[in-house]
């Protein structure tokens, strides 16, 4: 079993299309255990029930945005160890610094290529294969 197959990933994005594309990219990288949620609140509900190893979350979302979601994940004892990669559509430096300060493991700018996504995940987990 490859490392990718062992990692449980939670995708959080408010856009259906983005969730599909993220899921598709993860599958291309060999991930098999993928769950998706539409916003931070839903993501948190899933995380507390069944913690995932890796969270890939959009920043700009209604209800609970990516930063609030990150804070919630980091402040809950059940979920705080999860790796957290935040997605940003605007490449906003202030946001990146805030995410880093709050304990995000990496940032992935949209639109990403499969290679960029792979690099962002491998920077956290090491080589996937």
């Amino acid at each position: 079993m490859s490392l990718a197959e062992k990692i449980k990933v939670l995708i959080v994005d408010d856009q259906v299309t983005s969730r599909l594309l993220l899921g598709d990219a993860l599958q291309q990288l060999g991930f098999k255990q993928i769950t998706a949620a539409g916003d931070g609140a839903q993501g948190m509900a899933i995380m507390t029930q069944q913690p995932h190893h890796l969270v890939i979350s959009d920043f700009n979302m209604p209800k609970m945005d990516g930063i609030e979601f990150l804070q919630a994940v980091r402040s809950n004892p059940t979920t705080k160890k999860a790796a957290f990669i935040i997605l940003t559509a605007q490449g906003d430096r202030a946001l990146v610094q805030k995410a880093a300060a709050l304990g995000a493991n990496n940032v992935l700018a949209k639109p990403f290529t499969i290679e960029k996504m792979k690099a962002a995940i491998e920077a956290v987990f090491g080589a996937l294969k």
Binding site: L21, Q90, G91
Partner: protein, 184 residues
């Protein structure tokens, strides 16, 4: 009634998007095979437009290629821009324009682009309230975000050819400046 003379014209170029909440602004663009999605929240009168050309077979969302992700990105930037100005996602309505058939091209890129826009909006549950896509001639488009009114003029054959030629140039796509944010 909006007086055209008083309206401030804001041009949207390929790879770009604009969001406005000023009733005196008209968004304009010129489309060959490119597609422009115009979106607005009719309740608060905020609206915007993007303008893109996805190469190859980006029409199939399921293909998950780089072109598709770029198209989704431009749609997302427009939607995020609208939400930031107070629009509500469930109230958004869209019109799509462009995607003229290009002559001397093997695949119909314009049609693929229109297909992409239509499928994206449908998947996201955003109402399409107007559409004019395809055909052999390019379009000059005007869109009033506050009212949702759109007006288009057909380009002549020569103008269409010029526009399409310009669109095919490698353009610096709106990639985020910090696409490889390196820290940690």
């Amino acid at each position: 009634m909006i007086s055209d003379a008083a309206a401030r014209r804001v041009h949207v170029i390929q790879g770009e998007y604009k969001v406005v909440n000023d009733p005196n602004v008209v968004l304009t663009t010129i489309l060959g095979s490119c597609v422009a999605a115009c979106m607005r929240d009719p309740v608060i009168g905020v609206g915007g437009m993007n303008h893109f050309l996805l190469p190859g077979s980006a029409g199939a969302l399921a293909s998950g290629g780089d072109a598709t992700r770029y198209g989704v990105h431009l749609m997302e930037l427009l939607i995020n821009g609208l939400l930031k100005q107070g629009a509500r996602r469930d109230r958004l309505e869209a019109k799509i324009f462009g995607g003229a058939r290009t002559i001397a091209r093997f695949s119909n890129v314009g049609e693929q682009n229109a297909l992409f826009a239509r499928q994206f909006l449908t998947d996201e549950g955003i109402k399409i309230v107007g559409e004019s896509t395809g055909g052999e001639y390019g379009r000059k488009l005007e869109y009033w975000p506050s009212t949702g009114r759109a007006r288009q003029y057909a380009l002549t054959g020569v103008e269409t050819q010029k526009t399409v030629a310009l669109e095919q140039r490698p353009v610096p796509v709106a990639k985020p400046a910090e696409s490889s944010i390196e820290f940690f």
